[in-house]
């Protein structure tokens, strides 16, 4: 029987890895860096550096070098068995496509923005200014669309034949896939479910994303950047978008694909998915921090979670008062303070109502990474946990 080339390559690579210590050390380092409290901040830093140096890395030679390096890294990673097992799952083929197509689209946009910004500093006309963006429907557009259609169909047919659809037997409570993952495009939302109640992560946040995208043109009426690529004219807006889309959506999908393993524990990309690996995650609520941990450490007040209703308030409101104060400060007081200080100019420009909507969206977008980091670092579970009302934030 002829040996599968991929398999033989894999065997070779494992042999190499076994012999060569440095590779293992590298893998260990990457595994270590892929702990979420490094992974998400690191990707954010990479994004920010990319935004700062967009005129350099978008140059074709530089971009091609980076792409080549990333591809070598990605393909080289496939030689690792654990990584290869993730990549070869038919479910995860779109992830590979997504990573590369996202990188390409980001490059394309920033390349044109870099050219335009360069031209603007030199006083030259924009690349879009001379372009006649009209094409003839017949034959130009129809033929282009026809070719796209045929190509897409061909690719889908080949894909469907080569890789079997990942259909599974009927659901069986005694045999649950572990980990149970959402479709690849929802892995970011599934990741949010780890940190929030279902009604927040599954209803409120997706709703806010959709409503927020619809509301954007009404909040931001700045005409600059309409119809042409630019970064220097809209740095804050584009940075915000790149964070919301690139980090809070794409990176979370990547995290959900490569780093979430059995029992929804976190694994490095080159780490074997061991369902019995112990992982202690003793979560703690803000109420416990305030009523138990703080007084025990400082001795300022008597430790003990309140169990008696008082001031005419139910016990859970008193118990969760610290968390309610924090959340109230974050969602209602902070925007007011910012409107009077840092965001004074924005507030004057857009007025009360649009500022309120802007901060509603912004504060929820920032609340997600804040909560995630607090969970990773301090095992913080909920700011407010009123289970009686299904109100756990």
């Amino acid at each position: 029987m002829p040996m599968n080339p991929m398999r033989s390559m894999l065997a070779t690579s494992e042999a190499i890895a076994a012999e060569h210590g440095p590779l293992d050390a590298l893998k260990e380092t990457i595994n270590h860096l892929c702990a979420p409290y490094y992974f998400v901040p690191l990707t954010t830093i990479i994004l920010m550096v990319g935004l700062l140096t967009y005129r350099r890395w978008t140059k074709p030679r530089m971009a091609l070098t980076l792409l080549f390096a990333f591809t070598v890294f990605y393909v080289g990673s496939m030689l690792d068995h654990a990584f290869f097992l993730i990549i070869k799952k038919p479910d995860n083929v779109p992830i590979t496509i997504m990573i590369f197509s996202t990188l390409f689209c980001i490059w394309l946009a920033f390349r044109q923005a870099a050219i335009n910004d360069e031209r603007m500093t030199r006083g030259l006309p924009l690349i879009e200014s001379g372009a006649d963006d009209k094409v003839l429907v017949w034959p130009d557009l129809v033929f282009t669309e026809l070719i796209c259609l045929i190509l897409c169909t061909a690719v889908l047919i080949v894909w469907a034949i080569l890789l079997k659809a990942p259909l599974e037997p009927p659901a069986n409570p005694t045999n649950i896939p572990n980990p149970s993952k959402a479709p690849w495009y929802f892995l970011g939302l599934q990741e949010l479910l780890v940190y929030f109640d279902p009604w927040i992560a599954g209803v409120l946040l997706p709703g806010l994303i959709i409503v927020g995208l619809i509301a954007l043109p009404y909040i931001d009426k700045n005409p600059r950047g309409n119809g042409y690529y630019t970064f220097s004219q809209r740095p804050m807006v584009i940075t915000t978008f790149m964070f919301g889309f690139g980090i809070m959506w794409i990176v979370l999908i990547v995290l959900g694909t490569f780093l979430r393993g059995p029992n929804w524990n976190l694994f490095g990309p080159y780490e074997t998915w061991d369902p019995h690996r112990p992982a202690a995650l003793l979560n703690i609520n803000v109420a416990e921090v305030f009523w138990v941990v703080l007084p025990e450490k400082t001795g300022l007040w008597k430790p003990g979670v309140p169990t008696q209703a008082s001031f005419g308030l139910p016990v859970y409101l008193i118990r969760e008062a610290p968390g309610l104060f924090i959340l109230g400060g974050y969602f209602f007081v902070l925007p007011v303070l910012l409107a009077k200080s840092v965001c004074k100019k924005i507030y004057a420009q857009i007025g009360l109502i649009r500022y309120a909507i802007f901060w509603l969206l912004m504060s929820w977008m920032m609340f997600v990474p804040i909560k995630m980091v607090l969970r990773w670092l301090f095992n913080l579970k909920y700011f407010v946990a009123i289970t009686e009302w299904f109100f756990n934030i």
Partner: protein, 350 residues
Amino acid sequence: MPTIEMVTKVWIAPGCIVCDACETTAPSVFEVQHDNETCIIRPAALDMEFTKPLTKDIIQSAEECPVNVIKFDLTPVEVSEAEAAAFASKPSAPSAPAASHGEPTGATAKGSPAKAATPAKPKVMDPAIQALLAATTSRGGHAVLQQGLPEGMKHLPKLSPDQLPPDGRQQKVLEKTKAEATEPTRRDLMLGIGWAATAVAFGAVPLAAFNRFMAPNVLEQEDPKVRCGSIAKYRAMAPGDVNEDFKPVKPSGFWIIREEDRICAVSIICTHLGCIPSWLPNDRKFKCPCHGSGFKPDGRNFEGPAPRPLERFKVYLDGDEVIVDRSRKFLAMGPTDTAVWNDPDASIPA
């Protein structure tokens, strides 16, 4: 003051053969519409001040009409001497500016190729007429009508079709409405049945399906009581052990757990989002594969996002046999708030 008989109202009786003769003679009054196979009176000509100076043209058209469908009313009108003389001398000369021939409009030109032969027309046209023609033949006509309708015509657009002078198209409409008002035919009945069937297919069936979809499945549930065998088996378990025999029971399974002093039935549904956690005997915990919620062997939540401990079912003894009744649940609101579990129905003393 001399009196002249002038045309105050002109209309077309049914039977027009669309021959272009009238439009050739009086293009500002008639419009032959080949597409609709009829001839209409232009809206401007519905006013008697418009038709009066064109009396001779209209009479000539009526005489020329091969099927004699052009009808008109003649009314004696008092005019001045000069006007009378002018009227008598010129066959169709306009005495008032409002009486000039209209410019051929797009629709007219298309409708009647014969109009190229019309006599020379004065270049200047009454702006009011121009506005009216533009209003009736161009897009957005209503706006023009509202702005530029000359005095004395403003009532015209408001009139109902019955009050306007009849013409061929009007007649067709009337005939059609009459036909519809007659007795229902067999075809009408069949059509009615067909539409009703379509309405049922597109309306009632999805409605019924929706109703079925929204209705709770209570009646189709399994018996909430499950017989779990002799108590001796569960008394023999070590405290903290979990029996997984009833995990696959539909619609919602349960684990039977042994605490220090009691035996309880714990639901397998995660309180976070309804996945089914796995029992990890080595770690001594339940762990959800969907979002990583962890539960202690007694069901208390301690890691991941689950807000509450696993729910417990009512459990009781029938003689020697343990019965789990899933119709009654005991919901603890937090890992430290588990007083409901002390209910005598929530456990069997070990």
